[in-house]
Symmetry: C2
Subunit: 454 residues, 2 copies
């Protein structure tokens, strides 16, 4: 498990040297300043020959002048001197090096040469390189984030490995990420080691991948297949189109050539694939908040039959269907309110508006228990616009009843203002029929394929 140990130095360092850190602070883009702001607990060694100290932290003129043990070096110097700096790090015994500098293989053939030189220096000294052209790592459990931009770090069970920093940093705004490894040009550390680390990491429950190309396809396949049995892996692949692939450039040693083959391989490894970041967000939110779905049967409660129609339309491609309620359930539910005579599945909730709130309260509760107790119901769906009676009456009841059925997922499609008043429902609320349906789909898929245990 040397890959895991290697990555630990990047994500869990006790001491960090930042080489080429600028004196300018207050711009939000000084990594030293950011680490202090995050409250990083380890030792920090800024290296800058033109400064005595930055923000009260003693500066060192050269790598070789650094005292004590340095677990991780972050290089921010100009690209031309990076090989010399890497050599200094190797000589100093530093085993983990993040190279944030760009202008390497992604820029020119000259840059490609520099990159090869760096790698060879690192290899000869037994050091590992993350990058170049990477923002580095984020580990919110250690108050550690090396990107230039400042983020609000939040512990999260979702971790990511990306090939484009913007993916992870952008994604941070959408879904909190607990740990991030940005591979950048991936001259040394790639998906295999990073995935191995996240596989054994107890903080990580869900893994997101932004893939442009994968080296060591066989090693990756082994790690991915093993990992996906324990933790869901969702991947978005850049360069699936011919123009996208052309822009991306050829990744030597990547997983394969033809898209169909790559997709089939990822599928075989148990990796959930998506082509859209919004869909990835929907899926991730579902996996975070809800249990797997054990069958295809849906019970729908709706204030709008037009909405239920659209929802069923959206479900068809996933094979999710209306549950055939048992006679007992149907009988139980039909006694709830006088107006419910037309009720089946979907349940029309409009009659609940037309009785006093005490009666409605009791009826909602019995309805939820009835539907969730039915063997044929594998998931519950609530459809509505966000009218206040729903917020005030239904939300607390749902929150209460769900506790008794932890094994059955529930999603809602409640649109409109007041999303902040949805309380616990907000976790599994979606803004369109399609996004709610695909959230259920991922919960169904992970169970069906028995890809992992939650």
């Amino acid at each position: 498990m040397s890959g895991v140990e290697d990555i630990k130095s990047f994500l869990e360092p006790e001491s960090i040297a930042i080489i080429g850190v600028p004196r300018q602070v207050g711009t939000g883009s000084n990594v030293l300043e950011n680490l202090l702001w995050y409250g990083y607990k380890g030792q920090l060694f800024p290296v800058n020959p033109r400064a005595q100290e930055i923000l009260g932290i003693k500066c060192y003129p050269l790598v070789r002048a650094l005292p004590g043990v340095v677990d991780l070096a972050i290089i921010q110097t100009g690209s031309k001197i990076v090989p010399a700096v890497v050599q200094d790090c190797v000589d100093r015994g530093i085993k983990a090096i993040i190279i944030q500098t760009d202008g390497f293989a992604e820029l020119s053939s000259e840059g490609k040469g520099l990159q090869e030189q760096i790698l060879s220096i690192a290899r000869s000294g037994g050091a590992r390189i993350l990058g170049p052209n990477t923002f580095g790592v984020i580990n919110t459990f250690r108050n550690l984030a090396t990107p230039f931009a400042q983020f609000n770090l939040k512990k999260s069970a979702v971790s990511a490995i990306s090939q484009s920093g913007i993916f992870s940093t952008g994604y941070l705004y959408e879904i909190p990420l607990g740990k991030v490894i940005d591979l950048g040009n991936a001259c040394d550390i790639g998906f295999c080691e990073a995935l191995e680390y996240l596989a054994q990491d107890d903080d990580t429950k869900i893994i997101l991948l932004h893939i442009e190309g994968i080296k060591n396809a066989r090693y990756f396949g082994e790690v991915a297949a093993k990992t996906s049995r324990e933790k869901p892996i969702i991947a978005i692949q850049g360069g699936k189109s011919q123009p996208g692939a052309k822009l991306m450039g050829s990744h030597s040693g990547s997983l394969g050539g033809r898209q169909e083959i790559i997709e089939a391989a990822l599928h075989q490894y148990g990796i959930i694939q998506t082509e859209d970041l919004e869909e990835m967000k929907d899926m991730t939110r579902a996996l975070l908040a809800l249990p797997p779905m054990a069958g295809n049967g849906l019970a729908i409660m709706t204030y709008t039959m037009g909405g239920a129609v659209m929802f069923l339309d959206a479900c068809q491609q996933y094979g999710l269907t209306l549950a055939q309620l048992s006679d007992e359930t149907t009988r139980k539910i039909k006694t709830l309110l006088p107006r419910l005579e037309a009720l089946a599945n979907p349940v029309d909730l409009m009659p609940f508006f037309q009785v006093d709130s005490t009666t409605a309260n009791e009826a909602y509760k019995k309805l939820l228990y009835g539907l969730l107790s039915d063997k044929s119901v594998n998931a519950l769906v609530l459809i509505s616009a966000s009218f206040s009676p729903i917020m005030e009456v239904l939300v607390p009841i749902i929150t209460q009843v769900r506790r008794d059925f932890p094994q059955k997922p529930m999603v809602s499609w409640i649109w409109g203002p007041g999303q902040e008043n949805l309380g616990n429902i907000g976790q599994f609320n979606y803004m369109s029929a399609n996004s709610a349906a695909r959230a259920l789909n991922v919960l169904r898929s992970v169970n069906q394929n028995k890809l992992f245990r939650m």
Copy 2:
């Protein structure tokens, strides 16, 4: 054009009778109270035999007791007495009747009988019915909205015709709608008349349809084909799946049976189709803010090549491609910054970060002018996370330069916090590569098919 005149009574009434209006106020669901709150300027005649006045407005015990001319009646009584009330309205000479009451054809065969009875009474008296089971109409240009829920009305060039009230009321939160006609059970007034009205309505520039079934397919086809040449029509169809259609119930006299045929017909009429409300929102926003796209050529400016790759992937299905810049443009742009030597299209914006802001400002401006002046560029795309330098520097420049190229659309995919600081860019900013790409697609489609003039 009698259809148009008929609809005018619903959307532009000078006087409204509300029959069965409850005495209870303060709940947000009293239509009389809502109309006062909106500032509706016409006369209001509440009809309620158990009240002298409601909110200071004199009540009438019976329809026949109403004074003067009544343009529109809104019926909110129990379903069983609706036929008698409609008869009263007809006798009183009221020509436009909204029946909000539910419990008709959508509920039971008994309800279906009631509905037929109502229609026959109205027909015999030369009155038109909207509904039953409808929330009625919204005309923000007249401070008029008849749904039970209270909305913040806002004038808008987007109007909608729906068969499910929740579509329009839900949609109001997402995209302001200027005029809405909710057809409900559509026993009388249907898409044809409603569309004819919106076609000639100067306030309406874009028309959204939520379709479950269409009567008088031929008449509808004529109106739609004529209208779509002038104003874009975007439709979402409920019941496209077999389970969805089953739930929707059979709509007698609807446009046809097989989905492919309906879709082909809608396409032939020049109607843009979507299967997703989020997509409809993206399309509508694009049509509101941007000109049509004259060709397939994109110029991309990006702070992330990984993002540009994903964007090109998303564009492929729409046939949108990277513009082949002229040699002159390429030469012009390459002189902007020393680091730009690798530049082509997409333009890597990272080097703009690495120069002082005055230099960057000038270079951004020249870059934008260069790209937009190039004949091969039909649309400009900006990709980034919402880092503050973009907001502060780039947004004002874009706003300024766009004014000189009103005929070329621009979309951005800028994600992350601070969306509220995007200023004018916010209008055409999208949160994922896919949504930005499909926004461009609709701008391209409307131009390509010459379906309408903006």
